[in-house]
Assembly symmetry: C3
Homo-oligomer: 161 residues x 3
Amino acid sequence: MTVLSENFLDRLRLEEFFAEYVACLDEVRLEDWPEFFTDDGLYGLWARENSDAGLPAPMFLCRNKRQMKDRVTSYREANIYPDHWNRHLLSATRITQSDSSEIVAHSNYAVLQTRQDGETFIYQTGRCADRFVRNRSGLLLKERKIFYDTLAVRTLFVLPV
Amino acid sequence: MTVLSENFLDRLRLEEFFAEYVACLDEVRLEDWPEFFTDDGLYGLWARENSDAGLPAPMFLCRNKRQMKDRVTSYREANIYPDHWNRHLLSATRITQSDSSEIVAHSNYAVLQTRQDGETFIYQTGRCADRFVRNRSGLLLKERKIFYDTLAVRTLFVLPV
Amino acid sequence: MTVLSENFLDRLRLEEFFAEYVACLDEVRLEDWPEFFTDDGLYGLWARENSDAGLPAPMFLCRNKRQMKDRVTSYREANIYPDHWNRHLLSATRITQSDSSEIVAHSNYAVLQTRQDGETFIYQTGRCADRFVRNRSGLLLKERKIFYDTLAVRTLFVLPV
């Protein structure tokens, strides 16, 4: 009989969480997106170039769930942008901290985007640094920091990563 | 001692299945491809654009294993197409149903293709919706529906996804 | 209570190993890279085209850990190349052999690269064939053979895959 370590269980929990999270985004169910976060959850994007150089200013930041909801409203009602579909690929999730209340994990990601012309291109690659809190029903994001490699972003950061 | 839930076990079973499935395709062992399906298995491709708009006509469909074998024969003997290699990336597998006889799961995929000029490009991204039946030796596909994002397909659907 | 098979445990061990390995490379902590190998570890790259045709000559080969360290030194001190960041995606890991001392596994990979112009492109796709030895603290690579699809390599093989 093999005992499964908590670390391996966390790995499976994260895969399950990311599968739900990514499906929400790629199916453009944006109204559900803030529900993956705690009420005081933080979501932000940083250019890797700036971050590596010690420049802490984010390209985009939501400091709590209410700001995320505003973001979704402006996407639905105000922003102008070309129609597009995103497709997330996540890989190489690395658990860097884990205790009875939190998990910290880093993952590589790529977002491949398709526009109206039907071509698919690399919209963005990078690393996400996620801090999760455990609760009875599973995991919630307390922090999701995106460090993107792709500086030549072809549109505004319209859809969340 | 930690009890591993059936859902986590299914996740590992699916990863094992997909690893074999993808290796079969990317190594162009096409004659083995129909063996991943039940005799009455269905394999089809739909443009996401059409599917989202409620248009149910597939771009390509095999209604059983015999039709898949025909497909492989025509690939080997009749089709004309540029030489190419596919490389599948799968991510974010989401189990949406599971009981003692079946598993339904959705995954994101990308197929990166290399042609004779040696360049690699994004051939196709999308989502696959798979229905598996459990049998003694593992899992078999009863249904594999591919919903592709990339409308500007650069060749006919020569190799299966 | 479900018993987890050794094969599933190996799958989780490999995911953990690859997450550390990939982070080391993508964060350009190259001095740590040889430490993933045994002292007599082999690291090599082969063009898939040549390998499929039975031509065994590698494009690049390190026959032990000392040669890997030399490689890192020449990267840091001698090579001239455009600044770039790599982002690895791994998928479809397939365990082909496993016993009490070793694991052999094949995985699909893509390396997406970003240069100074801020654009991200597909640098290379392929398959890695890895032979691991088990030791007390986990796994070490005894052999990592990379078979790359992308023949039109845009720079020298500056960074390891």
